[in-house]
Assembly symmetry: C2
DNA sequence: TCAAAAGTGTTCTTATTACACCCATGG
DNA sequence: CCATGGGTGTAATAAGAACACTTTTGA
């Protein structure tokens, strides 16, 4: 093998755009940087990938250290490798996004997690490094993906109302949807289980609660069914 | 900044799945490996990314060294980083695919290019390293992308017949399409210019030649038009 | 009794599918 | 004159879009 030593002087990181849905609002989790450059800026959670660690594992680790959550939906989006993107040397970063149920998320006592905060996406301004570009790429991917895969449910609690689901789609797609058409379409797929329960303590007619039937989806999917909203 | 030296011992490469269309057949360009491991195996063209080189530039370089072609359609697909995927150390690879007009492609006199050959995709068997997985990811991406962006034309000569175009889609999507419906749909988009020329020297009624109007597409796209086939 | 959100059908329009015959050319 | 692929239209079906009122609850 030729001498390749000159190439083994780089590093790579993962950055993770963590989406959550709360209060009718799509949010991302940012952390306050504790070091230069961009000290005290809010940025995407991320870290170097260890030599014996796979990329997906690194992205999961970053998420778990911050939130304590495991087994969440995670998808690789794009790799960013501009020559001068990192001051410490040649560092390329593999961008992921993940979808968490904000209700599961407990602000960890760990020092890293104490510096974390949820931000509504429209309120996120310029981020350090190329993080704005990364966020945009991940948000765009989510927008496309959410229409063809039933991943929206990853952002909702196990029991949800159809209106919550609709608002979730409206936040992600940044558009208004027609209530009757939305319900017709989503119920026609037969992937929601009507729990015969209703909301409690709301100052209006209480909504029915539904649950997503993941097993049924997997079964239909393997037979060629395509989720489409 | 904390001491990060331990992380700066990795390398990264680009691998490029180069698609071409010829003879009614979708093909990819493979090169015969000149070194261990996998000596004499056919594998994807790829190389290390230089320290001062951006990722897209590296993918373009690999393509140009092999084919002499510049300014071709190139899209990043996914990054593969299994810990043990490369024997020389920790090497992650950023996978790209590109679309070339086979008619433009001249087998370069360079030693690297002389070892290259076009393979019909179904005839590609196991590839070295994780190249089979990379090929699959890129082919899947192409299948999706070709339905929502007018990139199929990148694989055809500037003047083409509707039947050629249909066969191209059929090869990529691995399905048969209805001739009348296909023509109706593609012509309704008004993105093809009828050149008022016909094929010559064919032993049947000669077909009309068309050209893709890229400027018109860009214009419509910026106004919200979505290509969809 | 009021405010607030839940729930529910029909019509119209548009897109998709299925399908078969005549035409122009070279050999 | 035959073989080969080029070129064309219509009807049936399915999907999507638009749209307004009644119901249930807590305050």
């Amino acid at each position: 093998m030729a001498n390749l030593d000159g190439f083994f002087k780089s590093a790579f990181t993962v950055d993770n755009v963590i989406f959550g849905f709360d209060d009718g609002d799509l949010k991302i989790l940012l952390i306050k940087r504790g070091e230069e450059p961009f000290l005290d800026y809010w940025g995407l959670p991320g870290y170097f990938v260890y030599p014996d660690e796979n990329l997906d594992a690194a992205a999961n680790r970053v998420l778990e250290e911050l939130s304590g959550l495991k087994d969440v939906y995670l998808e690789q989006v794009k790799t960013f490798g501009a020559v001068d993107r990192h001051p410490a040397g040649r560092v390329i970063t593999v961008a992921y996004y993940s979808l968490v149920k904000i209700s599961d998320y407990k602000l960890n006592a760990s020092s890293i997690a104490q510096k974390a905060k949820w931000f509504s996406i429209p309120k996120v301004s310029e981020l350090p490094f190329d993080h704005s570009e990364i966020l945009e790429a991940c948000f765009n991917r989510l927008k496309r993906r959410v229409r063809t895969r039933p991943i929206g449910f990853e952002l909702l609690p196990p029991k949800f109302t159809l209106t919550e689901l609709q608002h979730l789609y409206e936040s992600i797609l940044e558009t208004k949807l027609d209530k009757r058409n939305f319900r017709k379409k989503i119920l026609a797929m037969n992937l929601l289980v009507d729990l015969n329960e209703t909301q409690e303590g709301v100052a209006h007619r209480p909504a029915r609660l539904y649950q997503f039937d993941g097993e049924k989806y997997e079964d239909l999917f393997s037979k060629g069914f395509n989720f489409e909203l």
